[in-house]
Symmetry: C2
Subunit: 103 residues, 2 copies
């Protein structure tokens, strides 16, 4: 399983496209980032990907988990976002905003 | 509905306790933060709360959405995390790590 690695300099729209593509194909993705700025880019990307996938009738959810990674012999704590597909009927009202072409 | 507001200086363990408490009671929560450091604290708190709630047999998921808020007459973009309960059977394997008392 490839992990989508997101840095502070990653473009959130590009990462969103990558997440959406993998979710359409495999219904599962992992997105990893280290540091607040990279986590922020990941979150923006997941928010955008959620919108893309809603338009395709795919409801996604995520949960962040901590994981240790070695970078240049130093152990760092990374945040890994587990992204998976959930039943659309389980989505709360706040996520059921009209789709762009319904607005 | 109260929104849990998280700043860059919020303690993630305290926020995690607040999220877990609200989720046990209402099965739904909203967590809002502005800026990368505050988003990072929110994410840490959600990761910790996920662990707490798993021990109680409650499976949660979240999705970030953008929202505009006025702060001192300036419009800022906040990230609001919608947190809800999902069927435990829908959880991917990566979230089914042994619970502490099973390890």
């Amino acid at each position: 399983m490839d992990i989508i690695k997101v840095s502070a300099r990653s473009r959130s729209s590009s990462v969103a496209g990558a997440i959406a593509g993998i979710m359409r194909e495999r219904h599962y993705a992992e997105v990893q980032s280290i540091g607040a700025d990279a986590v922020n880019q990941s979150i923006k990307a997941i928010a955008i990907a959620h919108g893309y996938l809603r338009e395709d009738g795919i409801a996604v959810a995520c949960i962040p988990v901590f994981t240790n990674v070695d970078i240049e012999a130093l152990e760092r704590t990374a945040v890994r976002f587990i992204v998976w597909v959930v039943d659309e009927a389980s989505l709360p009202e706040a996520l059921l905003a009209p789709l762009p072409d319904e607005a």
